[in-house]
Symmetry: C2
Subunit: 162 residues, 2 copies
DNA sequence: TGGTTTATGTTATTACATAACAGAAGGCGG
DNA sequence: CCGCCTTCTGTTATGTAATAACATAAACCA
């Protein structure tokens, strides 16, 4: 896990394969429950995102998709759109990248939810946190604004990198 | 001011030229005060952003830069980076666009600040609101995370479009 | 005025994302 | 089982966003 800043970032570990398999199975079940199909490209895309516990670029998924050679962009972008709709991944706007939803890990709740992210500019790690936003809700109502989706991303340095 | 959704959006008005001139002068003064140079391409870029009171795409600025023909991308991207550093514009991550900072309008405070945005998906208008984020600050400290910059963007429908 | 720093001009390339259409696979009523 | 419809995938091409690298020019300053 080498990085732009030159450090090793041993603390940014990958999930072991058993853990990933468990989350892939869970994703399968979730889709089935919603009457949606968890197809091969969707599963492969999710697998590649779960392989990192940091946001992954679409073109990294594209490049790693096949053992020999890359996938075509639409294949992956379509899978990403689907996985996002299912609530299995989140798009990180400030990075043009995608990260697995932490709400599905460790048997936590599987409800779709608004999420906030703590994004380390040094090691690239991502932590998903749940927050309510009373102030912006209030400002929105005051303006007569109907909020549909909120993006909340904090960029900075994680504990290990400080 | 026609838009993708097919409406006219008369409520998304442009600033009159006197107002824009005032804000350009104010921007000049701000740069002078900071010992920075408000050059022609920077001023022109700011002018084009002030012409809309909605987020503007970089390539729209590029296309409109000269009366006859477009500017080269680096010219505009460099100006945008400068204006953002000066706190005169904000980047809207979820739109890949830039909007003038409202904190400089109407003689309000000129301090650099974290801002939140209410972004209408129908008419494209943007409203900048000031909010504090006690919950995410708290979550960040709990994780040992040092926040440097926060992106907060609410997408939805403005009062006029609802 | 000459050297240094900062900004711009220019060419080229890289990164990110989707349109459009053809074909395959799954679902379902007959 | 067949035919139809819908959904998903494959493929080509293109559109959109952003930056690298280096040459030139302008401002700053000793």
């Amino acid at each position: 896990m080498s990085h732009a800043c030159g450090h090793d970032h041993d603390h940014v570990h990958t999930l072991d394969s058993g853990r990933i398999d468990a989350r892939l199975s869970e994703a399968r079940r979730l889709c089935e429950a919603k009457g949606e199909r968890m197809t091969a490209p969707r599963l492969r895309t999710l697998e590649l995102i779960l392989n990192e516990n940091a946001p992954v670029k679409a073109y990294d998924v594209i490049d790693r998709f096949h053992p020999d050679g890359a996938a075509k962009p639409p294949t992956v972008y379509r899978a990403l759109a689907f996985l996002e709709q299912m609530g299995l991944i989140h798009r990180i706007e400030s990075l043009n990248a995608f990260v697995a939803c932490q709400g599905h890990a460790d048997g936590k709740a599987v409800q779709p939810h608004a999420a906030a992210f703590l994004l380390c500019d040094c090691c690239g790690s991502s932590e998903e946190v749940a927050v309510s936003l009373p102030e912006i809700d209030q400002q929105a109502s005051a303006s007569g604004f109907e909020t549909r989706r909120v993006t909340l991303e904090a960029r900075g340095l994680c504990k290990a990198c400080r």
